[in-house]
Amino acid sequence: MPHHISVTVDGTSYEADVEPRQLLVHWLRDDLGRVGTVVGCDTSNCGACTVLMDGRSIKSCSVLAVQADGSEITTIQGLATGDEWHPVQAAFKECHGLQCGYCTPGMVLATVDLLAENPNPTEEEIRDGLHGNLCRCTGYNNIVKSVQHAAGLMGGTK
């Protein structure tokens, strides 16, 4: 039986009837067309599907759409302000923090979450903070640099 949900996604309120088994990531992609959030695994490991739910990072493949009822979701498509990148997006671009880009939406949102809690993380804290996000291309070094650069852009000291 479908369940009624009200969810705000990237600043827009949505009302919908969803099947209980529908994963949040599939509701975002298939029903709302917000395909910036991607799926990379079946095991909750890769983090490609990371979004913010009420300001905290979660894996949208591991949450049902019905469980998001009443919450506020931020996806990669809700970070920029008009034509202006979010500082974390700008930093990933500047520091070449991506190659194929598949992991990037998740990496960027996980970084936003990390910097909100720890505005000036050490390299070790960055690697630990992002360990729920896998990248098959970069070898992570430029991702760490991007996070450090973003911390600087956002007012941390690095």
Binding site: P20, T43, S44, G47, K59, V63, L64, A110, G132, L134
Partner: protein, 283 residues
């Protein structure tokens, strides 16, 4: 993959949740944070008929000071356990162990009650609940009961919580002022513990006055290393700690798998226990 179809109910009290489990019959399942259940459903290793979502039950959400113990609602997330000032002060070992569970995203959703009810032998928190003498409050059709940790963990993925019951809260006796440390061994960043050793000690001057030691993944359910605990009393040197830790694997039944054979796990238990106790004791 997409999970098989199921019904979904979202009770707002424990009584409603128990009623929904009873109505749902054997295939009804509690949904906590979903961080263990969702991968199971997506891989279709399980197909419950109805999920009873307990994530919006206020009673499962709080952390409170009950005098001699800290009571943590089953629905409190790993992130909130780890950051709680009450937990850090009075149950430091639990805070430290919880900080090593999975990753930030999973800690934002996964709950202490879910992890304990799931009872994965490789789970980081069950051993600590056992070694600290936690007690579990469980609600079912016949009312509420309290179960000590020594009776809670039954076997692989099996606890005292029945199919029509809800774990409500876990009470941890206070251990304020005790040093605490968790050592966990794995090969890759995202892996579960191949073996883990959690130690907390009360120091009297430079000497260990009391110790609690828990082992992760050294058998089908968590292990409390009581021989080590007894041997640590009165110890004040690294050599003394090593001699006590040499008993860490005594009486355990670790499995062999692709990560480690039983003998290697026994070796890890001894080494990690020595390191964890030394760090907890500051020796």
């Amino acid at each position: 993959m997409i999970p098989a179809a199921f019904d979904y109910v979202r009770p707002s009290t424990v009584d409603e949740a128990v009623a929904a489990l009873v109505a749902g019959g054997e295939d009804a399942k509690v949904l906590g944070g979903g961080q263990s259940l969702m991968p199971v459903l997506r891989l279709r290793m399980g197909a419950p008929s109805v999920l009873v979502d307990c994530s919006r039950i206020d009673e499962l959400k709080g952390i409170s000071d009950a005098g001699g113990a800290i009571v943590i609602g089953a629905g409190v997330t790993h992130d909130d356990v780890e950051k709680s000032a009450l937990v850090r002060e009075h149950v430091a070992l639990l805070a430290k162990v919880t900080a090593t569970v999975a990753d930030r995203q999973i800690r934002h959703r996964g709950t202490l009650g879910g992890a304990l009810a799931h009872a994965d032998p490789a789970g980081d928190q069950p051993g600590t609940a056992l070694a600290l003498g936690a007690t579990f409050t469980i609600a079912g059709p016949a009312g509420r009961r309290t179960v000590p940790a020594s009776e809670f963990f039954v076997d692989y993925f099996t606890t005292a919580v029945g199919p029509d019951e809800v774990l409500v809260s876990v009470s941890f006796p206070k251990h304020a002022g005790w040093g605490a440390h968790y050592e966990r061994f794995n090969r890759t960043a995202q892996a579960w513990a191949i073996v883990g050793a959690a130690a907390t000690v009360r120091m009297d001057g430079g000497t260990i006055a009391e110790a609690r030691v828990a082992l992760t993944n050294m058998g089908p359910s968590p292990v409390r290393a009581t021989t080590v605990e007894a041997a640590l009393v009165g110890v004040s040197t690294l050599a003394g700690i090593a001699a006590a830790a040499a008993h860490a694997a005594d009486g355990t039944r670790p499995t062999g798998d692709i990560h480690a054979d039983p003998e290697y796990r026994e070796h890890l238990a001894r080494v990690l226990t020595r390191r964890a106790v030394a760090a907890a004791a500051g020796i």
